[in-house]
């Protein structure tokens, strides 16, 4: 039995190791200064970088987090603290359905409601689509983390003359903070690699831009375009971009681990 479990877990780790090794083998050689600082050059030409996609990923994911985190955390707090009634049940159900909705469907809705009325693709529409993906995820993890806070702590705060909202924010949310932060980091890591919802919204852009009203490139979109393109030079850059994106996600995952460690450290 132990042997079987060991083999299975080894298989899981093997997948990650293989992917990382392949990415490093094919992408690491392309990582140089200009890769990080230059925008793409004309199709077919050699050189250039993905600076526009790195900055674009930062802007689109950052904006999505700016919209998604407050709404998601607020919803989770509401569900945990006041969500025992019918409204709570409905919100929870909607969040679960939204959680299971394929991301491309979210992208189509963002296109219908934002891109079409605005008349053009934009980074903002991409951020909204990603935020919509993120909110139910964050809401449910926040709810779970807040529920872990012992009821006795709430009572102690209430008996001390804390109003209910203050108890929720100052005592309960603060106690669950490390868990909530972990959930947020995992959520951000999850949307940072999304491609499908951005195809109809942020679209992609071979030029450097920071204007959120315009189409914008992200690493995931760049990988998609370059990997499906005809040029060897593009394929080389796609591998490198994939390595960078993977590194970014790993960094967030490590950050999440660190946040968990902080919590357990505080509990000792």
């Amino acid at each position: 039995m132990t042997g079987l479990v060991a083999v299975l877990s080894f298989t899981a780790v093997l997948a990650l190791v293989l992917i990382l090794a392949d990415l490093i083998a094919k992408g690491a050689s392309s990582l140089d200064w200009s890769f990080f600082t230059k925008s793409p050059v004309a199709a077919g030409a050699t050189g250039g970088g993905v600076a526009n996609a790195i900055v674009g990923t930062g802007i689109i994911v950052g904006l999505a987090a700016l919209i998604g985190l407050p709404v998601g955390i607020g919803t989770g707090l509401y569900l945990a603290e006041y969500g025992s009634g019918r409204l709570g049940w409905i919100v929870r159900f909607v969040a679960d359905v939204l959680n299971g909705t394929p991301s491309i469907v979210i992208g189509i809705f963002a296109w219908t409601w934002l891109v079409k009325p605005m008349g053009h693709f934009s980074a903002l529409a991409g951020s909204v689509a990603l935020a919509a993906l993120m909110i139910p995820m964050i809401a449910r993890t926040t709810e779970e983390m807040v529920r872990l806070v012992p009821h006795s702590l709430r009572e102690a705060a209430l008996a001390l003359g804390y109003a209910r909202w203050r108890t929720s924010l100052r005592i309960v949310a603060r106690t669950a903070l490390a868990g909530i932060v972990t959930g947020c980091l995992v959520g951000i890591a999850r949307i940072a690699g999304e491609t499908a919802p951005l195809l109809f919204t942020a679209l992609g852009n071979l030029n450097f831009t920071v204007s959120v009203g315009q189409p914008m490139q992200t690493l995931s979109l760049q990988i998609y375009q370059y990997a499906s393109g005809p040029f060897d030079e593009w394929h080389r850059l796609a591998w490198a971009a994939a390595l960078v994106l993977m590194g970014l996600v790993l960094l967030l995952a490590v950050g999440a681990r660190w946040a968990i460690r902080q919590r357990h450290g505080a509990a000792r």
Binding site: L153, L158, L160, T175
Partner: protein
């Protein structure tokens, strides 16, 4: 009836009934708590003694389906009057629970200051003074004075419980409610809390719920015996334990049931 006629009453319940939905768990209890006394509430598990205590600072109504009828008078004024804000009221009546409940994200200092800060911002100097006074009253100052900024979770169970007492005392309430405060403590921790009761009653009115009869006998001036939600008997503690008036009381304190 227990308290002498000339005693000044701090707290009084008048035909207090506490319910969960349609089910009454405390039935028609009228009790008086004289100022600067320790009153113990005893009885077997499920007799409604904790619920009774939670009615005295309006915590019971926060439980699912919890509501009350009757009156609870604090200094003669009904705390269930609709003009009374329960949040404000709870700042006048401190409470300590069965298990220590220090706020895990806060330092020792911040735990004690929590109830003061919620009352509005105070100057640093005032807070420092109030925290020290509360910690001294809870007999914890000497043990923690050089690590006030450390996490409250680093303290032992008994120290944590005294920290919770200090936290409850810091806003200078009139009444202190103790809900089986030593249930999770070892004998020496229990001893220290009991000693505290004797000192604290000089400044506060204390109501302690306990299932430990010896404890009730040791710390209290008055003892009330509850059974199945009803007040069976209340008397001066030495009278209740030496010559109980009711058969049920005698059966309970001699260990024949409960």
């Amino acid at each position: 009836m227990a308290p002498p006629a000339d005693a000044v009453l701090q707290l009084e319940t008048v035909r207090l009934t506490a319910l969960y939905g349609p089910r009454a768990v405390v039935k028609d209890v009228s009790l008086m708590f004289p100022k600067h006394s320790v009153s113990a509430v005893i009885g077997p598990s499920g007799c409604g003694k904790s619920t009774f205590l939670r009615c005295l600072n309006r915590m019971h109504e926060l439980s699912e389906g919890g509501w009350v009828t009757g009156r609870v008078l604090l200094d003669g004024a009904d705390i269930y009057d609709e003009r009374v804000d329960p949040v404000q009221l709870r700042r006048r009546i401190g409470m300590v629970f069965q298990r220590p409940t220090p706020f895990p994200t806060m330092s020792i200092y911040d735990n004690v200051a929590a109830g003061l800060r919620v009352n509005g911002s105070r100057s640093r100097g005032e807070l420092d003074q109030a925290v020290e006074r509360a910690l001294r009253q809870a007999a914890l100052w000497d043990e923690v004075q050089d690590r006030l900024r450390h996490s409250a979770l680093a303290l032992s169970g008994g120290q944590q419980q005294r920290l919770c007492i200090a936290r409850a005392l810091a806003p200078q309430p009139e009444v202190l409610l103790l809900d089986e405060p030593t249930a999770s403590l070892d004998p020496s921790g229990t001893q220290r809390i009991e000693d505290l009761c004797h000192e604290l009653k000089l400044a506060y009115t204390i109501v302690i719920v306990t299932h430990n009869l010896q404890q009730a006998a040791r710390v209290s001036d008055y003892t009330a015996f509850f059974f199945l939600g009803e007040l069976v008997e209340v008397a001066r503690t030495e009278d209740l334990f030496t010559k109980p008036a009711r058969e049920q009381t005698e059966a309970y304190i001699t260990g024949r049931f409960g």
